[in-house]
Symmetry: C2
Subunit: 163 residues, 2 copies
DNA sequence: ATATGTTAGTCCAAAAACTGGACGGTGTCG
DNA sequence: CGACACCGTCCAGTTTTTGGACTAACATAT
C-alpha cells in the first residue's frame, strides 16, 4: 500500500496518519505551535534536509493544515501558519507531549512547561468526557466499529471493540 | 539526522516521534486498542508488508509499548499486548481519532462511535485543565520552553512560546 | 499417510523516500 | 563591490519500504 492510498481508507486514524504519520511532520507541527513560521527556522531547529522540509511543508499545505502567507515583498517571502484545521491538531500534539514528558523527560526536567492562562496553573491537559466531565481512559471507553472493522470477527475486545 | 538520533533530542515530541512517527505505527496501535493482537490479523487488516510489520512490532516491543506474550505452545505462538506505557497512548490515539472524524469522516458517517461506559453517552473526549476543569486549546495555553528551545530567540509567539 | 490449512515470521531484489551539500534567484546592508 | 539573509531546487548516494516467495511447526481432514 502506498502512502496516498492510506488516505483513502475508511478509518479516521488511517486518514490522519496519511498526514501526520512520518518522522518529521509531528516535529514540524510542534514547532509551528511554538511559533516557528519560516523555512530557515524549521531547517535550523530540526536539522532535516531542505528537500524533505520543502516536501513536508507542501504536503501540509496541500492538506490544508498550514497555509503559506506572504510577509514581505521584494523579495517575495512566505511564512507558514496554521489553518483552523491545523489549530485543531493542538490536542494531538499536546497529548503526545504529555506522553513524552511522562516516559522520556530527563530527571524531572520537563522540556516544555505549559501554563493554562485562564487559571494560571502549570498543567498537563487531560482527556475527559464532555458530557459528565469524568476522566476517560482505555478502560472506561468502548467503541462500536462500523463496517470496515466490524467485518473482522477476530476483533472482539478492547476499548473500541464491537458491542 | 537519523531516526535513532531523533530519540536522543531534548524534546518530548521528538522522542515520541521516534516511536510514533511513521506511516504504520499509529495504525498498528489503533488496531491494538481495537483488540487486535496477532501478526496475521494486523497484516490482513492493514495490508502492509510482512517485513515492515515485523520490524514495527519489534520496535514497539523494544520501546516497551507492546509486549509479546505466549498464548499457546506447540507450536509456540505469541501475541502482542499493550504495556502500561502503551495503554498511556490512549489519549494520543483518541485525539487523533477526534481530528480524523472531524475532517475526514464520510458524510456524517463516523467510522468508530465511542461510548463512555461510566455515563453511557456517545462522546468524543475533550482536553481540559485538570486544575480548573475548563477546556484548553492553543489560545488559552502558554508554555515556557527550556534551554534547547529557548536558545532560539525567533520563537516568541504561539501557545508554547517563551514567556 | 497424505494433503491442506493456520500462524509467525525471514529473505530477497526492486522501488520509493531521505540525505547532505551545492547551487540559483532576489533582495538588503555597509 | 563583497558579504549576508532567505527560500527553495537539483543531484547522486544511502537507507527504508515493498510485494511475494519461502521456511518452520504443528493441526485437521480425507
Amino acid at each position: 500500500m502506498k502512502w496516498d492510498e492510506i488516505g483513502q481508507m475508511q478509518c479516521s486514524v488511517a486518514r490522519s496518519s496519511a498526514v501526520l504519520g512520518d518522522r518529521w511532520t509531528l516535529l514540524i507541527l510542534s514547532d509551528v505551535f511554538l511559533g516557528v513560521r519560516r523555512f530557515e527556522d524549521f531547517q535550523k531547529r530540526l536539522k532535516l534536509s531542505r528537500t524533505t522540509l520543502a516536501t513536508r511543508l507542501q504536503m501540509l499545505e496541500r492538506h490544508d493544515v498550514l497555509r503559506r502567507e506572504q510577509y514581505q515583498s521584494q523579495p517575495v517571502r512566505y511564512e507558514y501558519r496554521l489553518t483552523a484545521k491545523g489549530r485543531d491538531l493542538f490536542p494531538v500534539i499536546s497529548t503526545i507531549l504529555n506522553w513524552g514528558d511522562k516516559y522520556y523527560a530527563d530527571d524531572a526536567d520537563v522540556p516544555i512547561i505549559r501554563t493554562h492562562k485562564t487559571c494560571g496553573h502549570d498543567i498537563q491537559p487531560q482527556l475527559v468526557c464532555p458530557d459528565c466531565g469524568e476522566p476517560v481512559n482505555e478502560r472506561n471507553m468502548t467503541g462500536r466499529a462500523r463496517a470496515a472493522v466490524a467485518s473482522h470477527p477476530d476483533v472482539e475486545r478492547g476499548p473500541f471493540s464491537r458491542s
